[in-house]
């Protein structure tokens, strides 16, 4: 358990603990004492809530003994039940002996005549489920539970169940379950879809959900919420225990843990109890004040790297967090270039081969590493060794994320975590400043509560039919007891059932092929056993971007075989890359991966063949931006900082000078308005807007603005976007067009762009097609695997694009298109945020025509050329390709 040293008895929001301290049985009190520990208030609070039969959300920082708190009630209950069992058996035995001595027959069940005997209801011993987003975490927790169980001699069996568990053991677990099962959301969905579910979960008392804050933000959280609803139906009285980092809205999570009653409007809102463990020492957080010249638009923080290296050298173990895999690769290379001390510095990101990652983790746990350059792949998870410093390169993007990353340093509650922010450019200085202030104030910006996705619901409905025939009325009520689905309409539920049965098409063509059918009794059941088998192969909500394996081959062999790939040369596997990354490469291109410069040789089936390159500067891919856009909360912080020059004294002088220059030559973006600058530079005309809404929303906005400017006859050529601003460039003079009244900025930025313009663009958008593909796989329209043979993602990509086109043309309100649009609102296109912004700035556009480039626009303008042309200009590009070739041919 993550409870080290002699932790002090910490204050807690509730005083319940003081009164309930005696609730901890002697056996446990003694165990804590031998360890030199005192039970913490929140641990006792959780025990008290459990005794009262209540569900609980525990919010605690890392190092607060959160996991032990989650399991303590279960360990206590199981130890008591077992000793009660033993006592009862001993008592019965004594009585039998006494009665035998009296010569009277013992009156026991066993002595009753057989005919009248009802077999006792078979109840599964499974008492507690522990569900974590990471299977590594489940395995780690199992190991940590061994200590208290062994040391107290508790008769408790703990087992894990993940995708890696051998099939024979998984079989056995269904018939002969342990007391505590540690597993993942997907495994629970699988178990619930089996015919054994009713028995298996019949005696379940508690579900412990670890890292709940991370689980609830995704479709996995939707699937788990539906599973919880079913578990509560099988085992009434089931307690939910959520373990979470600090979040913006704890009530969202409290609601998630308990059954909702949307059908009873008068019912009190159902919420789990809330226990907040007070954090320990405040973090020691600072921004690196580099002496080097601050770049305008870099994302690498290369200028500050010598200082970062010095920080690594001066500490025991440093985690260097970056936002993208590419940044990780780049920084790792650069750090080694200056590594004169030969410090053991390693690389960790999600695309590396799993073996390689495990080796890094093991070396870290053993204290053998001075530094690890990592991505969000180390955001969650187990405690890896003695990290005493976190360095965050680039902007943190969100204050909650930053706080969680800081928590990775030093898992001791009573010592401050040390973290250093390293901004990579001038805008990031502002963002880091806003983040520092947010962390100091404890400001949280975790994402808002999700509305349950319809594609996930479809998957769940099929799973429930696989378990046993269901009544639509009963399942509808059950589904609505899950918090994310509490507002689900009956019409949408019925449409989901219809989708599962026959695809949900207005043209009722498939009744005779239905996957689930209504019986005479009105229950829905699967049409044949093959359907259940297919369901099992496709369960889960994680649809990986299609990944291609990267294999190292010898350059000579590869170039001979060309693209045909008839020769296979077994080289070492380096890891995996996203397909879209490879799609834009041609043989001969070089790129950085797994800490090396590699040359792309060929693609053979789902493998990318690469060779070692001697190139010194790789053809690096365009900066793909962070996975996480700037949070609305931090964006507001940056705007507020910009609008208040009196607060600039905390900024480095270079940045201050830059902002002062902007104030003189143009104007500053206000807190609530939208600054739009128009100017000409070297024959091109620019329109630069500063919404600060994150790169995804800006890209969508850029796409739509370009369409509109084109319609207005202003001949836009393209656009670029970063997290803070976007710039559209055109042939025509946009300042002049505004002056002459040919272009109205209010109309240009009107919310109506989210109507027809958005629809027209979505029709073609590759991002939208990718979003649709995810929904189609989750909902079961497309199988991700066939029994015995995994279908590669490449095949799936292709056919879903065609399906998307046909479906959009013929039934644009189909449930899967609705699901995809709902995802687009918050996902890759961030349409909702764009909509909120457009509403916010309505009537508040501050236009500043200029005679020259403005200081604030320089960073985004520098992105031009680094990024590929904006827009889906495929036709223009085809024409260009044709001309290129003709020109070449004509010599």
């Amino acid at each position: 358990m993550a409870q080290r040293g002699n932790a002090p008895y910490l204050p807690c929001v509730s005083t319940l603990a003081h009164r309930r301290a005696h609730a901890l049985p002697k056996l446990f009190q003694d165990w804590f004492a031998t360890r030199g520990w005192t039970p913490r208030a929140h641990q006792l609070d959780l025990l008290a809530s459990a005794r009262a039969g209540r569900s609980t959300l525990l919010i605690a920082p890392t190092g607060a003994g959160k996991t032990l708190a989650g399991f303590l009630p279960t360990l206590v209950e199981l130890s008591e039940a077992r000793s009660a069992d033993v006592r009862a058996r001993a008592k019965a035995e004594k009585r039998r002996l006494a009665e035998a001595a009296d010569g009277k027959p013992g009156l026991s069940l066993a002595s009753l005549p057989l005919a009248g005997r009802v077999p006792p209801p078979r109840q599964s011993p499974l008492h507690t489920l522990y569900i974590s987003p990471l299977k590594a975490l489940a395995v780690d927790i199992a190991r940590n539970l061994e200590a208290p169980i062994a040391e107290m001699g508790l008769p408790i069996r703990v087992e894990t169940r993940t995708g890696d568990t051998p099939a024979s053991r998984r079989q056995r677990q269904r018939r002969d379950p342990p007391d505590i099962l540690l597993t993942t959301p997907e495994q629970i969905a699988l178990l619930l879809a089996s015919k054994d579910a009713d028995y298996l979960f019949s005696g379940l008392k508690r579900v412990v959900l670890d890292e709940l804050h991370a689980l609830v933000t995704s479709k996995r959280g939707d699937l788990l919420a539906l599973a919880l609803a079913r578990l509560r139906a099988i085992a009434p009285g089931l307690q939910g225990v959520g373990l979470s980092a600090t979040v913006a809205e704890p009530d969202d999570l409290r609601r998630y843990l308990v059954g909702q009653h949307p059908g009873e409007p008068d019912a009190e809102e159902a919420l789990a109890d809330l226990v907040i463990a007070k954090g320990g020492a405040a973090p020691d957080l600072s921004m690196l004040e580099s002496l080097a010249v601050m770049p305008w638009a870099s994302h690498t923080a290369l200028h500050a790297l010598p200082e970062v290296y010095a920080l690594i050298a001066a500490h025991k173990t440093t985690l260097v967090f970056v936002n993208t895999r590419w940044q990780a690769e780049f920084l790792f290379q650069e750090l080694w270039r200056m590594n004169d001390l030969n410090l053991p510095i390693a690389l960790h990101h999600g695309s590396l081969d799993v073996e390689q990652r495990r080796r890094v983790e093991a070396a870290m746990a053993a204290g053998k590493l001075k530094g690890v350059v990592c991505t969000s792949s180390l955001d969650l998870g187990i405690d890896w060794g003695d990290v005493d410093q976190v360095v965050n390169i680039g902007a943190p993007k969100g204050s909650s994320r930053l706080m969680q990353r800081i928590g990775r340093a030093n898992h001791r509650l009573d010592e401050p975590s040390k973290a250093v922010l390293v901004p990579a450019n001038r805008f990031e200085v502002l963002e880091c400043r806003a983040a520092l202030e947010a962390v100091k104030a404890g400001g949280q910006d975790t994402p808002p509560e999700r509305t349950g996705a319809l594609d996930v619901l479809a998957q769940h409905i099929l799973g429930m039919a696989c378990a046993a025939p269901f009544s639509a009325d009963a399942l509808y009520d059950e589904v609505r007891s899950a918090a994310p689905y509490r507002a689900l309409s009956r019409a949408d539920f019925d449409a989901s059932v219809d989708f599962v049965a026959t695809g949900g098409y207005a043209l009722r063509a498939y009744e005779r092929f239905a996957k689930i059918r209504k019986t005479k009794e009105g229950l829905w059941r699967v049409s044949n056993p093959m359907i259940a088998q297919t369901y099992r192969m496709n369960v889960g909500t994680i649809v990986e971007a299609t990944m291609l394996k990267v294999r190292l081959v010898s350059a000579r062999g590869a170039s001979k075989s060309g693209v045909a790939g008839r020769v296979r040369f077994g080289g070492r596997m380096l890891g995996e890359v996203e397909e879209y990354f490879v799609e834009t490469m041609v043989p001969g291109d070089t790129f950085v991966f797994a800490g090396e410069i590699l040359r792309y040789e060929a693609m053979v089936e789902d493998e990318v063949y690469v060779s070692r390159s001697t190139a010194t500067s790789p053809r690096v891919p365009a900066y793909a931006g962070g996975k996480f856009p700037l949070s609305t909360f931090l964006a507001a912080g940056v705007r507020a900082l910009l609008a208040a020059p009196e607060r600039w004294k905390t900024l480095p002088s270079q940045v201050r000078d830059w902002l002062n220059l902007q104030r003189q030559r143009s104007r500053l973006p206000g807190r609530f308005d939208l600054l739009v600058e128009t100017f000409e530079n070297r024959g091109r005309h620019y329109l630069v807007a500063y919404p600060f809404e994150g790169r995804l929303a800006h890209q969508t906005l850029g796409m739509l603005l370009t369409r509109r400017l084109e319609r207005a006859g202003l001949n836009p050529l393209g656009f670029v976007a970063n997290d803070y601003a976007l710039a559209v460039y055109a042939v025509s003079d946009m300042s002049l067009a505004v002056k002459q009244g040919r272009l109205s900025l209010d109309d240009l930025f009107d919310q109506d762009m989210l109507g027809d313009d958005l629809e027209a663009w979505l029709a073609e958008s590759a991002l939208m097609k990718r979003t649709f593909r995810y929904c189609a796989v989750i909902a079961g329209l497309i199988e991700r695997r066939f029994p015995g043979k995994e279908k590669t993602g490449r095949q799936v990509t292709f056919s879903t694009d065609l399906i998307y086109d046909v479906l959009r043309r013929h039934q644009s309100d189909h449930i899967l298109l609705r699901a995809a649009r709902a995802d687009a609102a918050t996902g890759l296109l961030d349409v909702r945020r764009l909509g909120d912004m457009l509403a916010r700035i309505k009537g508040r556009i501050a236009h500043q025509p200029l005679a020259h480039v403005s200081p604030l626009s320089v960073p985004v303008l520098l992105e031009i050329g680094r990024e590929s042309v904006g827009g889906d200009a495929s036709e223009a590009l085809l024409a260009e390709a044709e001309e290129d070739l003709v020109r070449e041919a004509m010599g």
Binding site: F499, T502, G503, G504, Y505, L507, A509, Y510, F513, K515, M530, I531, T534, V563, A564, Y580, E583, T584, M585, V586, M603, A622, E710, L781, I782, E783, R794, Q795, F798, S799, L802, I803, D805, V806, L807, R809, H810, Q811, H814, S868, V869, A873, S874, E875, A876, L877, L878, A879, E880, A881, E882, L885, A889
Partner: protein, 233 residues
Amino acid sequence: MLARADSVPPSFVGLAGAELVLDRRGALAWPERGVLAVADLHLEKASAFARRGQMLPPYDSADTLARLEALIARWAPALVIALGDTLHDRWAQERIAPQTRDRLAALQRGRSFIWIAGNHDPEPNALLEGEWAREIRIGPLTFRHEPLPGEVTGEVAGHLHPVARLVQRGHSIRRRCFATDGMRMVLPALGSLTGGLNVRHPAVSGLFGGRYEAHMLGTARTYRIAADACLGD
């Protein structure tokens, strides 16, 4: 920005002496002889998948026929040659919607149809009225489903569903295409749910001894790209 679909004047390509137009919807027109050729419609493909439990949208036949209707309206051919795999399987007629069947019948009025047998529809099918053939010769051209290996003169075929891929300015563009070397012409699939085979795949490149071209389908016209300049998948 883009020209209206049919405002682009047709540009002719030669095949064994015949002057042909490659329509950007994916059909070959031979105005001189009043012939229109299309390939691989795969009608009722979605419902074939639905039979096996994968409920693909049942709109593919209507979608494909709409394209064929537009082609016929544009070129007003006296003869339409479908180069095989017109039906996805032999049970298509049991699954096709009555209104789709009616549209198919309406298309046929006032012109002749020749249905070339394909591997998906090797036998004449009651759904497709008209003449059935393994292959047919008109002037310098021979129309068949599967391209013959080796040297040919004036072959028009389907079967392979060619697509071409390009990377231009960091964008990957993948489109259906015609593949031709002036002696042989492989048509793209017209069916809405039909996938494609890259023109650099040996099954396509092996048909052409030397240089050949991809004519990629665009929204207003086709784009002529040397196969050497195309990329594998």
